[in-house]
Symmetry: C2
Subunit: 403 residues, 2 copies
């Protein structure tokens, strides 16, 4: 159920002292091949961290043999010194694993604007590299890595999706292939990749072009549609490593399907663990003129603090939904305001832009999950964006502590 | 200090039973002339309330003799019945004041998606009309009107700005002219006019073209730059009535200046009374390539929940500022991320996109007002957007009660 579930990968996670709590904070994921195919997508934030600058360049040749990740510091807004720290980390990993620095991707997460403690970090890399070959960590390495990337997350997020080989005549006789993954992210969740770190692994035989296309397609409809608090990170990174160790050749479409399932699971896990949230809210827009229009309307609703606070209060305040819908420009999402229908947990509280069923019929207290459906009656496209409610605990977590 | 401070206006505010608290909830502002010039700006929300639809049409001829306003219900998303209610209210005011319905503007504020109780409202109009001529209300009418439009506001917002006549030879010998005003709005504060109701009055002699141009120019840099919670209302309306009763002819530029001062005061009052806020935050962007670029960057910061929660915690978390700046597309606001400076309450915590002065030097606890300055080093344009912090009380007010 982790990044080591597919064949051809090792991983580890250790405590290097970057987190004041003494929890695990440095992780390694190593691709033992035979392939070293890699693809990645990054934050679209123009203010991006040093590890993003490094990894974007390093993965541009479609190859990587390892990923080193740390929590306890984002290494963002740290200038040329911060970039040198990332470079040095990659060099150190490369020396340790006998690969080249250009094949080592780096991810960091934590507070912006602080240099990383390099002595502790590099010692952590050594410890993580040793742990890779510790027999006792063979099964636990993936779990340890998932723990080591957590910040305000309360649980580790991992996934494993397995498929029968569609071509049973694979060279080494394997009849299955799979995708494994881990992710972290509990605040600053918004597009530009749902503001998190995510490493996916697969033992499928794919080339870099297919891996890149499949990864972009899968994240577009999953991780990119988590909008917990509308805040975009400087460090978002999603990496896919392909070892080819199953010997099973997989087409782009098939890979996209499995990656979408894996990313969808991780995205849902991120929403379920969002900072301080008491509700997970799916905002589904139907009847849109295009998928982009549906996404734009859904995002406008998921970013309304008034809507999100109402959900916290178990109040199906549909006026706050339609007033958010009304902020989307007509050229982005054509619709007639007098045709809007809004359904909350199955009750159509707004019909044709006006009053529908009594809001008292809506039960929001019964379950953590809330389903909002908005019908624009302007076409046949649809999209869902996930968010959370706005709670006292969110305010507390994000005001009482720097993160 | 109210809408009745300029010559030629009467006003009143009464309790009609629309608010469950028994507080005042119906207001009238009447222009006794000699001029009946009017201009207005409205929410840009595509989902707009019945009174917005009515008033937009009624003011299109540049004339109005009265404004009727109610709290206790927004009359938004109420269909054709809701529009008929607004029409009927305007007719009733017109009959009472012996004018025509087309010269009566209507404003409503309160919960979306509920019909107004018309029996109570029309009785309230009668009471408000009677109160106009009550000698004891001659001085208090403007104050009563400002009280009657409050929703979650804790204090009434009023203003009066007086000027010497630049042309002392005015026909009736008046040597001054002035602008008075009132506004309400404590939540759902965002552009599309800072989500509030506002009535401005002036005894200057102006025509409708000048009044409209001056009003748009004044609101653009004041009320439209209050972004308390990023949520745009369905009912935003700003109305200017000109009586000409001072006999002083005023040019568009001079009128714009005084209206800007009046609207600026009202905008600042709205921020100071925003729901649950403990800090008023001015985000000023300097060194921008254009005013639009400066506004876009400032808005991105004022809409970051993480930034707003940090301010509540008195944490000068500049990483959350620059990460919000980074979300603005390059074609909207060109800048180099490695050139950004950020100053919080006078301390330059971020310099050239990296670490500046120690954040410990920033004192946020000492005052309610917080000043954030972001230098893009990309030009000479500047703009300020006001917002508030994200607090437990904001969440409480907007989750525990429908509004």
């Amino acid at each position: 159920m982790t990044v080591t579930s597919p064949r051809g990968f090792r991983a580890s996670g250790v405590a290097a002292g970057l987190k004041s709590t003494g929890a695990k904070d440095v992780a390694l994921v190593v691709n033992d091949g035979p392939l070293d195919v890699a693809a990645a997508v990054f934050t679209s934030n123009r203010v991006f961290a040093a590890p993003v600058a490094w990894s974007r360049q390093a993965v541009s040749d479609g190859r990587a043999s390892a990923v080193v990740l740390n929590s306890g510091g984002a290494n963002a807004c740290t200038g040329t010194e911060g970039f040198a720290d990332t470079h040095r980390t990659a060099e150190h990993v490369a020396d340790t694993l006998s690969t080249s620095a250009g094949d080592v991707l780096v991810c960091s997460t934590g507070l912006i604007g602080l240099r990383l403690p390099m002595t502790e970090l590099l010692a952590g890399v050594d410890a993580a590299a040793s742990a890779l070959d510790d027999p006792s960590s063979a099964t636990r390495g993936g779990e340890d890595a998932a723990l080591a990337i957590m910040t305000t997350d309360t649980v580790a997020k991992t996934v494993h999706v397995e498929r029968e080989a569609s071509d049973p005549a694979s060279p080494d006789g394997a009849t299955t292939w799979s995708v494994g993954g881990m992710a972290k992210g509990a605040g600053m969740l918004a597009p530009g990749l749902a503001t998190m770190l995510c490493v996916l692994t697969t033992d499928a035989v794919v080339d870099a072009t297919a891996a890149g296309a499949a990864l972009r397609a899968a994240t577009r409809t999953t991780l990119d549609r988590v909008d917990s608090d509308g805040c975009m990170s400087t460090n978002d990174t999603v990496i896919l490593l392909a070892s080819g160790a199953s010997g099973v050749a997989v087409g782009t479409e098939e890979l996209t399907g499995v990656l979408t399932e894996a990313c969808g699971s991780l995205a849902r896990q991120l929403v379920a663990d969002a900072e301080g949230a008491s509700h997970d809210v799916a905002v589904t827009v139907v009847g849109a003129s295009s998928e982009d229009a549906a996404v734009a309307v859904a995002r406008a609703v998921t970013r309304s603090n008034l809507f999100k606070a109402a959900i916290f209060g178990n109040d199906p305040n549909w006026g706050r939904i339609v007033s958010a819908v009304g902020t989307v420009p007509e050229d982005v999402a054509p619709y007639d305001a007098l045709a809007l229908d809004v359904t909350v947990n199955g009750v159509q509280v707004c019909r044709a832009g006006g009053v529908g069923e009594p809001r008292e019929l809506v039960d929001l207290a019964a379950a953590r999950e809330v389903l909002v459906e908005i019908d624009l009656h302007a076409g046949s496209a649809t999209a869902t964006v996930w968010t959370n409610d706005l709670t006292h605990d969110y305010v507390h977590e994000n005001s009482a502590y720097s993160s």
